[in-house]
Each structure stands twice: as C-alpha cells, then as structure tokens.
C-alpha cells in the first residue's frame, strides 16, 4: 500500500436548503482505522459522503494527495478510495460472484474488460470475507449477515488503499458486527489499508478505532485516540446522555455505561447523589 493523504479544508456540505456540515477541517490518519461517531443527524454520514465525493462541497474542498477530488477523474479517485454506501442496491437475480466482480469497475475500461488480476482480486475479496463458498448463490437467497459480507467483498475487490464504510453493521446482530470489525482490522493490519467507518455503537467504536472523530451538529467536537475522546463529559455533550465510562474488561478501551432513569443499583445512586 502506498501512503495517502485524505483531508478536508473548510468543508461545507448539505442537501437542498440546509447545510449539514459547515466549515469543517479534518485529516484522516493514513494506515489507521478511524471511526466517526455522533448522534443521529449530526452529519457523520454526510461527512463520509463528502469525503468520497458523493456530495459536491458547497464550500471548501476535499483533498486526496493534495488534489481536490472534484478536479480528479472519477475513475482515478475510485482506484484509490472505495466506499460502501449505507444502502446499496442488489440487482434482481445477481449472483455473489457477479456482484463482487463489479467492484473491479474502476480497473476496467471500454476495451480492457477482464484480466487475471481482476480474478485474483475477486478471489482474495471472497476469501477475506469468508464468502468464497457463496460465489454462485443469488444475493436474494442470503441472510443479512452474509449479504453485508458480500457487499464488503465488493468494496474490497475494488482494491483501494482507502476504504470508507457508512454504518456497515446496521443490519447485523452483535456476533456479525464483531466479525465484520475484526475483518476490517485484519485488512488494516495485513496491508495498512486506511479504513474510515461511521458507527453507531460507541463501545465497538472504542474497541476497534485507532482514531475517533466525535461529531455534533455538523462540527467535530473531539478527535483523537478512544481514551482521549471518549470521556463521560464528551459523551454527555455529543449524545446528551448521562453515563459512566469504565475500562472495557476485554480490551481495556473506554466502555460507555448509560445511566438512564431506571434500573440503577441503590448503592450507585447513593454514591452519585
């Protein structure tokens, strides 16, 4: 993997008449796993879409290795930067092999249609996601967990140094969530692939992120290592949630325990009072 520099300067993004993200500066650490967290509608998915040039900036710019992504050819960006959208569409009757193969789009052209390199990349993606035995199955027959792994395989087949994923764990149960994040960590460790994930689960975010970006109302509130960022004060500020932060018994990373209004043990309530 060659190293890359993905950053945004004074970035403003929005839909219709509203700005969702305004005047934001961010640099994505190269070769690391970055997780973007925040409450619903805080602009984290919008930021990810902006970084992947799915949204044209209203102000500022997104720079990939020093060049504005808007000025680059789409296909050149797609060779370096991949994105798994929140709700991709599986065409009717498509098989796993065909779908994963479509990840090779930016490496093919009008005349250069399919090569041994493409076969290798598809095979590696199937292998890495544990979907090799599904290759001839139709997407419609798969379970939610399998389907999500196939989409990840398609993004992997694109073979980019940077991979952005928009809430990839949404439809997965806890077991498959952990499996997917383990897989992304494997990829990051094996090849120094830069991974950026929008994630809802704070505890998984703390466990898997090298770098956390916490967003609120379209701005970055805090960023840094999970230990630096995820404190009770920041979580209360970002999510409006009263909570305790304790060490995760498995990883030692911060773990958020919400207080809520019910079910607190008596001695805890007294200690807090």
């Amino acid at each position: 993997m060659t190293s890359h520099d993905l950053r945004a300067t004074n970035l403003t993004l929005g839909y219709a008449s509203t700005d969702i993200v305004s005047d934001l500066d961010v640099t994505i650490p190269d070769g690391r796993i970055t997780v973007i967290v925040g409450a619903n509608a805080c602009g984290k998915s919008t930021l990810l879409r902006g970084l992947a040039r799915l949204l044209r900036p209203r102000g500022g710019e997104v720079l990939l290795d020093g060049t504005s992504v808007q000025d680059m050819r789409s296909i050149d960006v797609a060779k370096v930067l991949g994105l798994l959208p929140q709700t991709p569409v599986a065409p009717d009757g498509i098989t796993v092999g065909d779908l994963v193969g479509r990840g090779r789009y930016p490496h093919q052209g009008w005349f250069r249609r399919w090569s041994a390199e493409d076969d290798r990349a598809v095979a590696a993606a199937l292998e890495a996601t544990g979907t090799a035995d599904l290759v001839d199955r139709q997407i419609a027959e798969l379970s939610g967990g399998q389907r999500q792994r196939v989409w990840v395989a398609m993004a992997l087949a694109q073979d980019t140094d940077l991979l952005l994923l928009d809430e990839p764990t949404t439809y997965l149960d806890i077991n498959h969530q952990v499996e997917l994040l383990d897989l992304l960590t494997d990829l990051n460790r094996a090849s120094a692939k830069t991974v950026v994930i929008v994630l809802h689960d704070l505890n998984l975010a703390c466990r898997y992120a090298d770098h956390i970006i916490a967003m609120k109302q379209g701005a970055i509130v805090a960023e840094g290592s999970p230990r630096e960022v995820v404190t009770a004060a920041v979580v209360t500020d970002v999510f409006g949630l009263a909570c305790e932060v304790v060490p995760d018994p498995v990883s030692g990373t911060p773990m958020v325990v919400p207080r809520g209004r019910h079910h607190a043990a008596r001695e805890v309530v007294e200690a807090l009072a």
Binding site: I75, A78, P85, D92, I94, Y105, D119, V135, Q158
Partner: protein, 348 residues
C-alpha cells in the same frame, strides 16, 4: 489471504465467469438464429407461398424472378424489417429502463412513455393528417415530454424506482384519456384507423418512419452496448456507482435519452405494441443467466414481435394487429409479476 488459497480461488472465479460468459454467448447466438429463422418464415408464408431457398435467393439477388421478388422484397420485407427493428428497440429500451430504475415494472410501455408518444402521434394522424416525418417527430416529442414529466413529478432528492412507476401509471392513464378524447372526436373511418394503430401492429409501417427507426438503430444499439458497462454500475444505486468511479448523471442521462428515442421511433413505426418492452428483459435474463445483456433483450424483443405477428397474421381466422397477440401473452405475465413482487415484499 494466503497466496496458495488465492490461486486456487482465482481459478474458481475465472471458470465461473467463463461459464457464465459462454452461456450468454451461446444464448445470444441461438436467439440471433431464431430471429433469422422467423424473418425467413415471415417472408415465406402468406397467400403466395415462397419456399425458403427462393426467399434467400431473392434477398441476396441471386436470380431474377419478378413475382417472387415483388412478394418477398416489396410486400413482406417491410413487415420483417419493422418487426425486427421495433422488437429490438422495445427490448433494449425496456431493459434499460428496468435496470436504471431497479424495478421490473418500470418499462416504458407500463409507465406511460409509449402512451405519451401515442398521444402526439395519433393527434398528428387524426387532426393534422400528417406525413411520416411529422408522425415520427411527434411520437419522439411525445415520448420525451412524457418521460420528462414523469421524471419531474417523481423527483425528490433523486429518483426512486417505485415512485417513478406509480407516477408513470398515473401519467399513463392521463395520456390514455387524452387519446380517448381524440378518438371520440374523430369521424368513424379515422377512429377505426386510429384504434388499429393504437393496438400496435407491424403491418402498418410507413416507409419514412421505418427508415428513420432503422438508421437510429444502427447508431443507438452499438451505443447501448457501450453504455452497458456504466449501466452495470448504476444498477447498484447512485452512491455505489459513484464510489466505483462511474459518472452517474452523464451515464444515466445518455441511457434514458437513448431508450426514449428508441421508444418514440418504434411507436411512430408500429404504434404502441404493448408488453414487449416489459417482458423482453426478464425473459432474456432467464435465458442468459444472472446479469442478462442488452443485446439478448433486444433479440428477445425481436423474437416476440416477429412471432406475435406470425400468429396474428396466419394462425387466427382473421388477421389481427400484432399488439393483440403480445397483449394476450403479456398480460398474464404482468399479473404474475405483480403477484410475486408483492409476495416478496420488494417492488420499491
């Protein structure tokens, strides 16, 4: 990701892909042969039967035989060319719409693009007594305007296939009402002519309209095949297509424009032959395997139109418009499609 496994798997991926490509190539070749066979058959049969060798000899101008040449080249060849051209146009346009909008119901004849083309074409026939250029132009304009109307009405931060289909059905009804009004106003003879035209038939082609369609096909079918690559990305949704490096807006506009032109010109030639655009793509996909192909869909369209015309002309007591036969075959498919789409909870 150990290298040994990769090599093994890459072979599996390659052989799977090659098997799929082989199947697609075989199916496409067989379809092409069937189309050719239907063309020859159409040229052979009728009140003056011509044996196949004579048909081929006449087409290739191998010998002079005035009566045969007249029947084959002057009487029957226009019908064959129409069936072929209209079938390919409908098949390609239908499958492009369905894939772009991600919905098997989103074919141009179902969402009102064909009816829109018919409105202006019928108006120009009944009200203006127009010549072929004007009829072609009106049908084309009708298709473009209707598609634009549906697009604008269905637009809400992007296009969802489901909303496009629902609004298209509404627009289609509106167009049919206008057609009803025009036909009701026409005198009896014109009304009868308009009704036949509205069911759609390959036997009525005007030479000028036909020539326009055939020239357009020569340009647009290769273009469609080139655009099949971006179409395969667009099928995955706008976000995924952009992430893969496809220029979504440009490709979609080009594909939509191409299909609309094909529909408009085919309506100008043969009237709105219903259901061909709806069923050609799904049938082709069944035959070629998952993925499908635009070329196969076009050939299936040609098979349907040529076959339906043979049935309509020769297998029923009195000749019928082609559209009656495609309607009888297509309507049950539509009902089946609606039933299964709802059962599987998709359709949007």
């Amino acid at each position: 990701m150990t290298p040994a496994l990769d090599v093994l798997d890459a072979d599996v991926v390659r052989s799977g892909r090659r098997a799929q490509r082989r199947r697609s190539a075989v199916v496409t070749s067989v379809l092409a042969l069937v189309v050719l066979g239907l063309c020859v058959l159409t040229l052979m049969i009728g009140s003056y039967a011509v044996p196949a060798p004579d048909v081929i000899a006449s087409l290739l101008r191998l010998k002079d035989d005035a009566p045969t040449d007249f029947v084959v080249r002057d009487l029957r060849l226009p019908t064959v060319a129409t069936g072929l051209g209209v079938g390919i146009a409908l098949g390609v346009a239908g499958v492009v719409f369905q894939k772009l909008l991600g919905n098997p119901l989103a074919s141009p004849d179902f969402v009102g693009v064909s009816s829109g083309a018919s409105v202006l074409a019928v108006s120009s026939i009944v009200l203006l007594d127009a010549g072929s250029t004007v009829v072609s132009g009106s049908a084309l304009a009708g298709a473009v305007l209707t598609a634009a109307l549906i697009y604008v009405l269905a637009w809400r931060d992007g296009i969802s296939g489901y909303r496009f289909v629902l609004i298209g059905i509404g627009v289609s009804q509106f167009m049919l009402a206008i057609i009803g009004y025009i036909v009701a106003r026409a005198d009896v003879y014109e009304a009868r002519e308009a009704m036949t035209w509205l069911v759609g038939t390959v036997g009525q082609a005007g030479t000028g309209e036909l020539r326009t369609l055939l020239v357009a096909l020569v340009v647009l079918v290769p273009t469609a095949l080139l655009l099949e690559r971006p179409l395969r990305a667009l099928e995955l949704g706008d976000d995924a297509a952009t992430a893969l490096g496809s220029r979504v807006e440009v490709s979609r506009l080009a594909l939509l424009a191409l299909s609309i032109v094909l529909i408009g010109l085919s309506v100008a030639v043969a009237g709105p032959i219903m259901f061909v655009a709806l069923i050609a793509g799904p049938i082709a996909q069944r035959l070629t395997g998952p993925g499908g192909s635009l070329l196969a869909a076009g050939l299936v369209g040609a098979v349907i139109v040529l076959g339906a015309d043979l049935v309509a002309q020769h297998l029923v007591p009195a000749p019928l418009p082609t559209g009656v036969v495609t309607g009888i075959v297509g309507a049950p498919y539509l009902i089946w499609l609606l039933a299964t789409v709802n059962r599987e909870g998709r359709g949007g």
